[in-house]
Amino acid sequence: MRCSMCGADFEVEAAARSCNGCPLVGNCGLIRCPSCGYDNVPESRLLGWVRRMGCRRKRARGEQGLKWVGPLTLADLPPGQPARVVGVVNEKEGGRHTQKLIAMGVFPGARIEMRRRSPGYVFQIGFSQFAVDADVARAVLVQVDEGRGLHAKRSFN
């Protein structure tokens, strides 16, 4: 995001580090700019949601919205879309969930299918179903299983 005081571009995660020593431990709802220390008010969630809805509608009309770049994660799959596991996200945040994913048997090459996305993610792998939240679902890298896409409710682009 961009600081509204000094105009510096910074990562929100980097800002969290400058909260060290503050008793509210990042629970204040403000984002402190790492370069000038100004407490920025983040964009309202409601506005962000409205904006995303707008993007989605544009995309539905065939207009080019935001183009998705980067690898596909479990959290991006629509329900009913068969896919295969490619791996796990290996960065610091995603890496937290590795042990859990090992325990669930989420290994490369395994067939995985999203069953529902709300109120949480439910996926089927092997003979088991698991419920996870968005954090865990975003830690699994997947690839759409083209050959078995017959049951998909919507196609995936």
């Binding site: 290996n90 890496g95 969930h97 590795t98 090992i102 490369p108 109120p119 179903q129 698991f130």
Partner: protein, 479 residues
């Protein structure tokens, strides 16, 4: 040497050999197994290696770091994936897999439980059934029959007469019989008031547990629980808390982060009434639906409010939600009965000595005058929240056990009006955890957090009680 079933990727195999060569023998595992654990990042084995030879340990650390940086995936994950691949290679030779079953009623019900539109009504229906079973059958029918029919009519007069005949001294008589006797109060509370309620709750809980509903409820409620700093997994201790908060506080161990364990412990102590308390409160407020509604709203509101504030104030990382959804199953009766019996036995063994001890303490307090001193000291507080002086013993008993206090309230309910009953029910629900729960809190969370929680809860309960009594009097609701 055993044959190696699992062959890892060449780069990993090379580092396994290198690490094994550095390790001198003498571990209870083979050096290959130790090397694999070190690669997977097992802290325990790393500490063991370091304790033997620091130089070798740091040499190994370098090797592990080198392999780690050359791989795109976490090492532990790669090792597990390669083992899994070996299993999958072997499996088809021994196992035949039938084609998957069609989507049946169970799968549809499972989906309905997780969909918020249908899941919330299902939850409400489940709670209503729970209330009918525990609150009506357990707390009213069974308690009424045991308490009035068996104890007050036969057991107590018989004990009084027997004790009066056998023991000539009134002081000792009062220890066993009379108003606060071990047999007439302790045993009566435990067996006639608490046992039927706890028994019916544990029976219902065993059915819910065995059906596989809890993980689905956990998913449904995950978002809400995230706002109070917990996640869906915490429904298990929370629902169990409606049975016994002591047991539930022990179960908070299953939560992943310290932050969640602290928040769950405080919420259990503050705003989750145990089944005995719940049953007695249902029985007291049964004829007053509005009072019951106000009680429920206040307690739920405080649960969410305090959770929300705690989530903001307690430091630590957010925990992730993950849970297996086992297929829905019809519970087997024998399994449910065994579970219910085991839990009831545990509960009685836990509760009876404490009830007896409480009776003895009250007796001691009475003959030394301490009891009346404590009652006098507590009296202004009780009056301050708008309750009559007769409610003071019930509140004081609450210090010994929550259910004991609630049961004391059950005894004097005829003396209180609607507003007072509501205030008393709310205050006793929020009020201190029982002796057993406080002990478990100390043991599980350490004295700092346990004492901090209690120091917050006690004044908070009375302040809420006071505020509520003012509000209800001002609103003049027909309670």
């Amino acid at each position: 040497m055993s044959t190696q079933l699992v062959q890892y990727a060449p780069a990993i195999e090379r580092s396994i050999t290198e690490i094994s060569r550095l390790l001198r023998g003498g571990y209870p595992l083979s050096t290959r197994a130790v090397a694999l654990l070190l690669l997977a990042g097992d802290d325990e084995i790393r500490a063991a290696v370091e304790a033997r030879d620091q130089a070798i340990s740091s040499r190994i650390d370098e090797l592990v770091a080198k392999v780690r940086s050359s791989q795109s995936q976490p090492l532990a994950y790669m090792l597990a994936a390669q083992r899994q691949a070996t299993v999958e290679r072997l499996l088809p030779r021994f196992v035949r897999i039938k084609a998957g079953r069609a989507v049946g009623f169970g799968e549809r019900l499972s989906q309905a439980m997780m969909n918020p539109l249908t899941g919330v009504p299902i939850l409400v229906a489940a709670l209503a059934a729970l209330y009918a079973f525990v609150g009506v059958l357990g707390a009213q029918t069974l308690v009424g029959w045991l308490e009035a029919g068996v104890f007050v009519r036969f057991f107590n007069p018989w004990v009084d007469a027997l004790v009066n005949r056998l023991i000539p001294w009134p002081v000792i008589q009062a220890l066993f019989a009379g108003e606060y006797g071990i047999l007439t109060l302790g045993i009566r509370y435990a067996v006639a008031i608490i046992l039927p309620i706890v028994g019916t709750f544990f029976f219902a809980f065993a059915i819910i547990e065995d059906s596989g509903y809890l993980p689905r409820l956990a998913l449904l409620i995950d978002r809400l629980f995230k706002t109070i700093g917990l996640n869906g997994r915490a429904v298990i201790p929370m629902v169990l808390g409606f049975g016994c908060d002591t047991m539930a506080t022990i179960v908070t161990r299953t939560l992943e982060t310290r932050r969640e364990r602290v928040i769950a412990t405080v919420l259990l102590a503050l705003a989750v009434p145990c089944s005995a308390q719940l049953g007695v409160i249902f029985a007291i407020l049964a004829g007053r639906p509005l009072a019951l509604l106000i009680w429920a709203m206040i307690v739920i509101g405080i649960f969410l409010l305090v959770g929300f504030l705690a989530a903001r104030l307690v430091p630590g990382e957010r925990a992730a939600f993950y849970m297996e959804l086992p297929p829905l199953r019809l519970p087997s009766l024998s399994n449910v009965l065994v579970k219910t019996y085991t839990r009831m036995e545990w509960y009685l063994r836990e509760v009876l000595p404490l009830f007896v001890l409480a009776s003895v303490l009250i007796w001691l307090g009475q003959i030394t005058g301490l009891f009346s001193t404590a009652l006098t000291a507590l009296d202004p507080v009780v009056r301050w929240i708008g309750l009559p002086h007769e409610a003071t013993p019930a509140i004081l008993f609450g210090f010994f056990r929550r259910d004991y206090g609630a049961a004391g309230l059950y005894d004097i309910q005829g003396m209180l009006n609607g507003v007072q009953l509501t205030v008393a029910a709310v205050t006793l629900t929020l009020f201190v955890p029982c002796v057993a729960q406080a002990a478990v809190m100390l043991k599980e969370r350490g004295w700092k957090i346990a004492l901090g929680a209690i120091a917050f809860i006690v004044p908070f309960a009375f302040v809420v009680g006071w505020g509520l009594s003012r509000l209800l009097i001002w609103l003049r609701l027909p309670l």
